[in-house]
Amino acid sequence: MRDIRKFDARPKLDGSWKFLDDITYEGMIYGQLLYSTCHHGIIKKIQFPKDFELNEFTIVSAKDIVGKNLVPEPEPDQPFMAEDKVSHFGQIILGIAHPSKRTLISFIKQIQIDYQELPAITDIEECLENEDNVFGREIIIDHRREIELESNWIHSHEIYYTPHQEHAYMEPQGIISIWNPADRKMFVKATCQCPYFVKHAVEAIMGKAINEAVIETSEGIGGAFGGKEDFPNVLAGITSLLAYKSGKPVKIMLDRADDFKITTNRHPSRIELHTYTDPATKKIMKLNVDYRLDAGAYQTLSPVVLSRGVLHASGGYNIPDVYIRGRLFRSNTPSNGAFRGFGVPQALAAIEAHADKIASQLNMDPYDFRKTNIFKVGNEFPSTQKITENHLEECLDRVVQKSDYRKKLQEFKEWNVAHKDKKGIGISMGYHGGGYTGNGEKILNSKIKIIIEKDAKVKIFVSSTDMGQGAHTTLAQMFFEAIKHPREKCWVQLPNTSKTPDSGPTVASRTIYIIGTMLQKFALKIKDEMGFTNLEEYVASHQSDFPREFQIKFTPDPTVSFDDNNFRGTAYKDYSWAACVSEIYYHADTYQIELKKIWNVLDIGHPVNLKIAEGQVEGGNIQAMGYALTEFFYKKDFGRMQGFTDYSIPLSLDIPEIDIEFIHTDSDVAKGLGEIPMDYPAPAIRNAFHNAAGIFINEYPLTPERIFKQISSPKNHRI
């Protein structure tokens, strides 16, 4: 656990680090997307403006696609471009390119499209309340145990709603494609998380027109958070088609408004819970969850978000009888996609808030209620996977202790009697399974290449990208620390699919946990096999053996198995655990919640680089604060989204004090970290508001408008 400075820190701050839009190629022209402003309809006519030379523009539509008009991964149901019908606002109809950006923009502004409008679902409620909108495979986790309901058991029934969330990475999406007719290769420069997904997409749309697509990421990837997992596949496909047709390098950079309007977002959810609690033992005996996600117009990766969501939906509670049903709902809005947390923030927003509801029905403190119901070694998840450590409870105890929770409860209670404004404190806890769900890692079968040069320089080739989370620094660190090799002799190379093997996508908190662990084990293995104590000396005395190339493959743990059909077995080999306490100040005059402080206690195993790890927790917490308090929009207003004035992410003015503690840091395993700090804070903030004002709000975010409505007409509150 050392703080190694990120290798790219300085060039990023002095401006010399190159992001996608900082790159130009000889003869490059600019592209833009023309997308539907109609939510659902048939395209009747596309009319181009008269006063332009049409032949100066390169225009591609679905008709120009040589291969298939279907984005191949993850669920192949979304077309790259609309054919004669549009299914959502923002669906791409044409790709257009021109040497002058200015001409291109004014041309596109004047293109007229006539639609025959069809009925559309654009409202989250309308989508999620109506079971006719269900599509895709439903997931059931059935852990029912013939338990007779007792008549005195307390029945709690609630419905929670969570909104869309926009990734709001500071660098918008972009792609550059270059077609080389000589070797029939399409070279793509991308700001993306998953170079191999992009490769498969470009090869799918180009079909036999090309021999191969080669994807290389830009040096800088200006934030991603899941947002650059799937949309780059679509964008790269269309940019490549333009490059092919025009014969010129084409760059498409989305402007902020388009990025807000047409790219993926976090899935809105409606989560309905029924619990039955025994008032004598204060234990939850039965839980029924109906977990619904608004997937948007196509499934794309929603089925995997759904599966992770339902696997985390019962929270950290030991409940004998559990039934969870997960379903996707279709709407006429852009497909929702990956976002840090991947279904878990929604799950916890419901179950962790519901826990406080039951506690209040029992007249019990939320911490005591959690202590009574938290799972312990020997209990099992609803998937029947056994709980093998009590680290969640340790996190909970520790965070309660270090935040002075009990003392503050008392103090705030007294303070609140005398004041119109209120202070409050709230708890939440959660976990996040590391890596792909179930058999996913086995199927991914990640590969890494390593070259050790004659000067003992170690080059690491992985398709994992560094989008700011410090992956390339930490991955190199895992290798060189394992064998005490000098830092400056170990580098992760820029991902390029013609050089780097497929080590899987940079998602699912898997990069350090899966890829880093592979590197660490490999370093120790070669040390053992070659029998060196110092790699530099070894290479110096065995010069003829170098440069030497090694291939490493993921070895699945044979004891891990998961039944994808019935959702039974080991869903994740390792879980990260966390608990948090949040303290808020409620301004009664403005109905505003101010987050004062947040305490995190996490078990992520061994934090390889403490500074980077803390940075992940801080960044995740603040995104979660936005999720809890300010961030939302309705897709029906999409046309209006222009910039950050239409969507409020936290500013430096808004941030609370953050306290972070990692426990069990001496563990051998470096577990997942990227997502969990986003998962759990929102319900802790909501619970703190209840503690302050005595009001439960079951719809996120807790905006002043929502609080005002709730206070002025509590009856309208949904349940």
Binding site: D8, K12, L13, G15, G223, R256, G468, E614, G643, I655
Partner: protein, 149 residues
């Protein structure tokens, strides 16, 4: 139209469109540290200094920058080192897209705020959005640099 701009103490003569933003001109001239995050004055990553004061270059016409001193992070050179060190030592740099604009804003703040407080610093930096770091590490580093406890 043809204009003459003074950028980082050097004079550049260039052709621009009448409605071209200073941001676009700077990037065309190769000052790629100046980023585009929204183009509508809402994110701060295009911040440069105009006569020492931070401005959003996407909201200024290039033509109106004639006769003023424009400074980007490239022009701060060594003067930025201490700020960069302060931010880096707190591990506050993540994707880095907001980085150069934060450095120039902090540089201007140091000149401008005579007796800095945490509140004044937070206020001064409130137009510089960052989605990765949650600001925590950035502010820790910058407070140190400003000499605020």
């Amino acid at each position: 139209m043809k204009i003459t701009l003074k950028i980082n103490n050097q004079v550049y003569t260039t052709h621009i469109d009448a409605d071209e933003s200073l941001l676009d001109t700077l990037r065309k001239l190769g000052f790629k540290s100046v980023k585009k995050g929204c183009d509508t004055g809402t994110c701060g990553v295009c911040t440069v200094l105009k006569n020492g004061k931070p401005v959003l270059s996407c909201q200024i016409l290039a033509a109106r920058a004639e006769g003023h001193d424009i400074t980007t992070v490239e022009g701060l050179g060594e003067k930025a080192d201490e700020i960069v060190d302060a931010i880096v030592s707190e591990g506050a740099d993540q994707c880095g897209y907001c980085g150069p604009s934060l450095v120039v804003t902090t540089y201007a703040m140091k000149q401008e705020l005579k007796d800095p407080t945490i509140e004044k610093i937070n206020q001064y930096l409130s137009g510089n959005l960052c989605r990765c770091s949650g600001y925590e590490g950035q502010l820790r580093g910058i407070k140190k640099y400003m000499g605020v406890k």
